[in-house]
């Protein structure tokens, strides 16, 4: 009865925020199915010159521009 005057419940806010966050997550995960292969090949190339510990590739969107950000963690000396 008084629900009319109440602001949106926090569960509804949670659902809305989750729906958007998960949609974005899924898009990123599905964007490039060849990501693992790409990672493996980049590691191979970089390894020729310097030791690689791990690599992370993320798709980032800023405005109209999509970019791949590649982080390569080097082996400790």
């Amino acid at each position: 009865m008084f629900g009319f005057f109440r602001k949106k419940s926090s569960a509804t806010t949670a659902k809305d925020r989750l729906t958007i966050a998960i949609m974005t997550d899924r898009e990123n995960a599905d964007a490039y199915p060849f990501m693992d292969q790409l990672k493996a090949e980049i590691i191979e190339v970089v390894k020729k010159y310097i030791g690689v510990k791990a690599i992370e590739i993320k798709k980032e969107t800023q405005g109209d521009i999509d970019a791949l950000s590649i982080d390569i963690k080097l082996e400790e000396k």
Binding site: S9, A11, A14, I22, R26, A29
Partner: protein, 270 residues
């Protein structure tokens, strides 16, 4: 051949190990041979929840490395002769796992048990990937809370791309468990309801577990909550175990417990 079920969550601390223990006990009490395996290398915990920590002599890494036989490392639970447990290694780290060894261990377990339940480590790193690699089915445990649900969705994504079954063109069947439901908060709109969560994750529900303080007491004592017939969480696990064994059990409306005056009145005399 037994069925391999991985218990996963993405986020830690949502009740994955508690679920593994209780589902394992519940399945064993349904007269099925069941083994629970702790895949959380380096952070062994399932032994404590099952009350078996003093009986661990050998662990699964020693079995995989051929240092001891599987039969020597398996611990029989006193709760049921149908229930066995295989401990995680506490000293080694996750890098000791490799697919070939895991497959052999799992195949050996499948030959001896009807249900092989694997408790995955939290997170979505290699330890997790190894746990889901040879799973036939997966139980996904979530809390009605944004970070748990988002992390679970990521874990499901990895399950659907990296498990052997999916690579073979089949599907890993998924069961959702919503844990730590606070009915009052759901009613007042302060907590995501089961319907909300099912809308977002879109996987079949196998059970809802209300928040229950008796869980702490159960883990303090190493007696899985399912053995406490009075506890609501214990009853919820009992229903879940029955469903996993193929029994038709109606979904209880955990979010709207009976709270009539008569019910409260009865409660006073319990």
């Amino acid at each position: 051949m037994g069925i391999v079920i991985a218990v996963i969550s993405g986020k830690g601390g949502v009740g994955k190990t508690t679920t593994t223990a209780n589902v394992g006990v519940g399945i064993a009490l349904n007269d099925k041979k069941c083994v629970v395996v702790d895949f959380d290398i380096g952070q062994r915990n399932l032994d404590m929840i099952l009350g078996l920590e003093n009986r661990v002599v050998f662990d699964m890494v020693q079995v995989m490395d051929g240092e001891v036989g599987l039969k020597q490392a398996l611990i029989k639970s006193k709760i049921s002769p149908n229930l066995s447990f295989l401990a995680a290694s506490q000293t080694k780290d996750k890098s000791v796992l490799n697919s070939e060894k895991i497959l052999k261990l799992i195949n050996d377990l499948k030959a001896d048990f009807d249900y092989v339940i694997l408790d995955a480590p939290a997170g979505i790193e290699t330890g997790y990937e190894h746990t889901i690699e040879f799973a036939d089915r997966a139980i996904i445990v979530v809390n009605p809370e944004v970070s748990s649900i988002r992390d679970a969705d990521r874990a499901i994504g990895i399950l659907d791309s990296k498990s052997q079954k999916v690579k073979d063109g089949e599907e890993v069947f998924k069961y959702l468990i919503i844990n730590r439901i606070n009915p009052k908060m759901v009613k007042s709109g302060e907590m995501l309801s089961s319907e909300d969560i099912l809308d977002i994750l879109n996987i079949p529900l196998v059970g809802k577990i209300p928040e229950d303080t008796a869980i702490i007491d159960a883990s303090n004592q190493g007696k899985p909550i399912i053995l406490n017939k009075k506890s609501e969480a214990g009853q919820a696990y009992e229903r879940i175990a029955g469903r996993l064994c193929g029994n038709e059990i109606d979904m209880q409306d955990v979010e709207n417990p009976k709270s009539g005056i008569l019910h409260k009145f009865k409660g006073m005399f319990k």
